[in-house]
């Protein structure tokens, strides 16, 4: 037994565990300091929490796209962050038009539905076209090839949109009904954050039941398990793969509109950071695993909303909020080192 243990401890594992333990110690110490100092009130913590949930819901929606595609193609769709960006970008023009016709104020719910549908459709189309042009011809190529294609496609789309619509930041019009706060249990909470969170959960639940119940959903799962066997069972693999790109795209498009509603703005580079974070969320939950992506997204959103104030502040780091992206990236690295299969994942045995 001792020998077995000894054999598993190499210099590398020691280094990694040291990194892990030091990180953990810093987090615990920092949190303790912050909490004891009482810098933030309970109310503020609840604000962070709700914000984290809303943010996490968006991450989860994007993460679904990564996971769907990873499931069927075993590749990371690097350009998914641009799929996410494209929907709300076009949605913006619809929204401003609606605004000019005063439609947003008179029919707020119908108009948000229109924007949402347009954005989902655009993101879906971008995802499907991307698959058709850039990925399908390379399905049997060595792994590096589609990956580089995806990176290329990602940057192409970013700057293509910049060329078409300009590089300026576009401000979404206000939906008056979503402004302001609701009081829940005596606690005022931003309406938009609650709405975004519940809408995201609703969409995810819809997707989940779609995957479980419908024939197409089952086909996607079958293709994820084994493409050849699925083909033998009479499943059209090509269209199933297209379909999972479409689903992922729709979710990302919806996530994009929520993002635009929360942050009020869209621009051509907006996909990059949420993209990496959503990928982190997908890995966190176990890539290829649909419920995992949802959980991972929520978890990351919370972590990011609370983390900087909780432990970086306690460590005496000035303006900790600048480093919130560093936290997300560090989470990604740590997860991949210590639990590459993610919280729920068991999909990739020998891959990470």
């Amino acid at each position: 037994m001792w020998q077995k243990l000894k054999s598993k401890i190499t210099g590398m594992t020691i280094v990694m565990w040291t990194i892990g333990i030091v990180t953990l110690a810093l987090v615990v110490y920092g949190s303790a300091v912050t909490l004891i100092s009482g810098k933030y009130t309970l109310k503020q913590w609840i604000d962070f929490l709700i914000f984290g949930l809303a943010q996490g819901g968006i991450y989860a929606l994007i993460a679904l796209g990564y996971t769907q595609v990873y499931g069927v193609l075993k590749m990371i769709n690097f350009a998914h962050s641009e799929v996410f960006m494209s929907g709300p970008m076009i949605g913006y023009f619809v929204a401003t038009d609606l605004y000019h016709f005063n439609y947003i104020d008179t029919h707020p719910y119908l108009s948000i539905l229109i924007v949402l549908i347009v954005a989902m459709f655009v993101s879906m189309s971008v995802a499907v076209i991307l698959e058709r042009i850039a990925y399908r011809p390379l399905r049997n190529a060595p792994r590096l090839v589609p990956l580089i294609t995806a990176i290329g496609a990602s940057f192409f789309l970013q700057y293509f949109f910049k060329g078409l619509f300009g590089s300026n930041i576009k401000v979404y019009p206000d939906w008056k009904v979503f402004l302001g706060k609701w009081v829940v249990f005596g606690q005022p909470i931003l309406k938009i954050q609650i709405i975004v969170f519940f809408a995201a959960v609703l969409l995810m639940a819809g997707l989940f039941s779609f995957m479980q119940r419908t024939k197409t959903g089952k086909a996607i799962r079958a293709v994820s398990e084994d493409k050849d066997a699925a083909a033998l069972m009479g499943i059209d693999v090509d269209s199933t793969i297209s379909f999972s790109f479409a689903l992922g795209g729709m979710m990302a498009g919806a996530g994009g509109v929520f993002y635009a509603l929360m942050y009020k703005q869209v621009f051509f580079l907006m996909g990059f950071v949420p993209g990496i974070k959503a990928f982190t969320a997908a890995v966190l939950g176990g890539i290829g695993n649909v419920p995992g992506a949802m959980l991972g997204g929520l978890f990351l959103g919370l972590f990011e909303a609370i983390g900087p104030n909780l432990f970086l502040d306690g460590l005496g780091i000035p303006s900790p909020y600048q480093l919130k992206d560093v936290i997300a990236f560090s989470v990604l690295v740590l997860v991949l080192i210590f639990r590459p299969t993610g919280i729920l994942g068991e999909r990739l045995a020998k891959r990470a």
């Binding site: 690097f78 060595p142 294609t149 060329g163 619509f165 982190t280």
Partner: protein, 564 residues
């Protein structure tokens, strides 16, 4: 075929494709932006050229697809394609004219300038006719270039392309050529009509001449080369060395600046080529080591921070050392990761470094968002290296070192182990290769070269800001090694000249650089994965399929029975 409507037929598919492409080129702004420069002065701007080139290209592809058809039919096809493309543009122009639609509120570039460029400034009637006609001609030209057999077809296509290239680089020729000659060929921006015609027909004539006598010349050169291989080789070496050494004097200060930048990217490219090309580890955080090299140079020499007061040469080894340390540090956590995971984690790492540098937390040591100024200049003897031609030599020395390192390692057991790792990690390990050490060596060596490059970069700029170190740098370097040919050393140089040099010379390109790079990456992977200048031994490098052995196994019995 017969049952389908005409507009669903193949030629119309090409036509629609051409139409969509040219409309997108217009909407994305490239047409207008390129039109600031003439291609043939007063006749055609580069923006218009872009449209016709696209149409010709589609015509060419369509022509290739129907190679066996009669020349007349292909010409007809090309014409139809051009017609559809032209018509699409006309529709676009008409749409921009509809006031209530206000196309411009969405598409920034649907502007009056665009209309002017598309109608050749001749108003809607004559302009449309012009546009349509030239598009049709381009389509026909492309189609014919594809199907006319022998030297005439390819000669036409090639001389057109070469002429265009010469026209685009007008500014370079002007610095070389005597004023009188330059004035004869070139107008203020681009060719003049005589220059264009002479160049085109001269190149066409040359290509014809070469097709007739080229083989004979090659044979006689081959004879000389085989009789005295060493002498010929040395002659070539000496010639290229002399040219390299004289280059900054020949091209002047501005082009030296461009060469410097290209050189800095060549050093980085040679480093990343070790990591990606040799060992197959896709590292997107490569800019981090460049930043670390640069920041080491800055922090240790900048009087602004006043932490240290070392000279350039004292700091250079430190820059490399810190980059190597960072390379190993990044290497350790990602040891177990493959392919896409590695890519995204290294990308995250690059971002972490950038965010840390930007942050207020580290401002006292790294200078924060304002960056650093007063970075030391290198001195050689009594000369302070400061202007671009002087830096050229420093960078050239760096390139030689990087080239030597890469080629020495490639041709060693380490190089072979890296390639084995790239091909099949599990099998490499079963061959007794210690994956940990060779992966770390790859990261460390790549990082060292990137650090070297960063140190020179910092010293050259004399000051720097964190915004110089975005993920885009990593993507530039990756793109240039892909374009040149993964794993190929000359490929790095070709890639850097093409991708870094061109946008510097053609400022219009610079704005669309990332879009073009992205498209180039996709296009290369789809159609030419081995790159522009692959190693001779690896021309077919990336053409293999992953399930190769399985395929062979299943087809093997067939082959066998044929033999038996």
């Amino acid at each position: 075929m017969e049952n389908r409507h005409f507009w669903q037929s193949e030629v119309m598919n090409f036509g629609w494709l051409a139409g969509i492409l040219v409309v997108l080129l217009a909407l994305v702004g490239m047409v207008v932006s390129f039109s600031q420069r003439g291609f043939i002065s007063g006749v055609m701007s580069e923006g218009q050229l872009l449209i016709f080139l696209t149409v010709a290209l589609i015509g060419f592809v369509a022509g290739k697809k129907m190679e066996r058809q009669s020349v007349l039919k292909v010409a007809l096809w090309g014409g139809i394609i051009g017609f559809v493309a032209g018509l699409s543009l006309i529709v676009l122009v008409l749409l921009t004219g509809i006031k209530p639609l206000n196309l411009r509120s969405m598409f920034l570039n649907a502007s009056p300038q665009l209309v002017k460029v598309l109608t050749f400034g001749k108003g809607q009637g004559a302009g449309f006719l012009y546009l349509l006609l030239l598009n049709i001609l381009s389509g026909i030209f492309g189609g014919l270039a594809a199907v006319i057999p022998g030297i005439w077809g390819s000669g036409l296509a090639n001389s057109a392309l070469i002429t265009i290239l010469i026209g685009l680089l007008t500014d370079i020729w002007k610095t070389f050529l005597p004023r009188g000659v330059a004035k004869f060929f070139f107008a203020n921006k681009g060719f003049n009509v005589t220059g264009f015609l002479i160049t085109f027909f001269f190149i066409l004539a040359f290509l014809l001449f070469w097709s007739l006598y080229g083989a004979r010349i090659k044979v006689s050169y081959g004879n000389v080369a085989s009789r005295q291989p060493k002498k010929v080789k040395i002659t070539w070496w000496v010639i290229s060395l002399v040219v390299l050494l004289l280059l900054p004097r020949l091209v002047g200060s501005y082009l030296s600046e461009v060469l410097d930048l290209v050189g800095i990217y060549i050093i980085m490219g040679l480093g990343l080529n070790i990591v990606v090309g040799f060992a197959g580890l896709l590292d997107l955080g490569y800019v981090a080591f460049f930043a670390i090299g640069a920041y080491t140079m800055g922090v240790f020499t900048s009087p602004e921070l006043g932490l240290f007061h070392l000279t350039f040469w004292e700091t250079l080894p430190l820059s490399i050392l810190f980059a190597v340390l960072a390379g190993v540090l990044l290497g350790i956590p990602v040891l177990g990761m493959r392919g896409d995971y590695l890519a995204i984690v290294t990308m995250g790492f690059g971002e972490i470094i950038r965010l840390l540098v930007l942050s207020d937390a580290l401002k006292p040591i790294l200078g924060g968002a304002q960056g650093l100024v007063g970075i030391a200049r290198p001195t050689v003897g009594h000369i302070v290296v400061k202007n671009p031609p002087q830096f050229y030599y420093l960078i050239l020395a760096g390139i030689f070192i990087a080239w030597y390192v890469a080629s020495a390692l490639k041709d060693s057991k380490l190089g072979r182990a890296w390639m084995a790792l790239r091909e099949d990690e599990d099998v490499a390990q079963a061959m007794g290769i210690n994956l940990v050490s060779i992966k770390l060596l790859a990261f460390a060596t790549g990082a060292a070269l990137s650090g070297l490059s960063g140190a020179i970069f910092a010293a050259k700029l004399n000051s720097m800001v964190p915004h110089s170190f975005t993920i885009l740098i990593s993507i530039y370097v990756l793109s240039l090694i892909i374009v040149g040919g993964v794993g190929s050393l000359p490929g790095v140089v070709v890639g850097a000249l093409a991708l870094i040099g061109t946008p510097e010379l053609l400022r219009e390109f610079a704005e669309y650089r990332m879009m073009i790079y992205g498209a180039v990456l996709v296009g290369m992977m789809l159609y030419k994965p081995e790159g522009l200048w692959p190693e001779p031994a690896r021309r077919r490098e990336l053409h293999g399929e992953e399930g190769k052995s399985a395929v062979t196994a299943s087809t093997a019995p067939v082959q066998m029975s044929e033999e038996a």
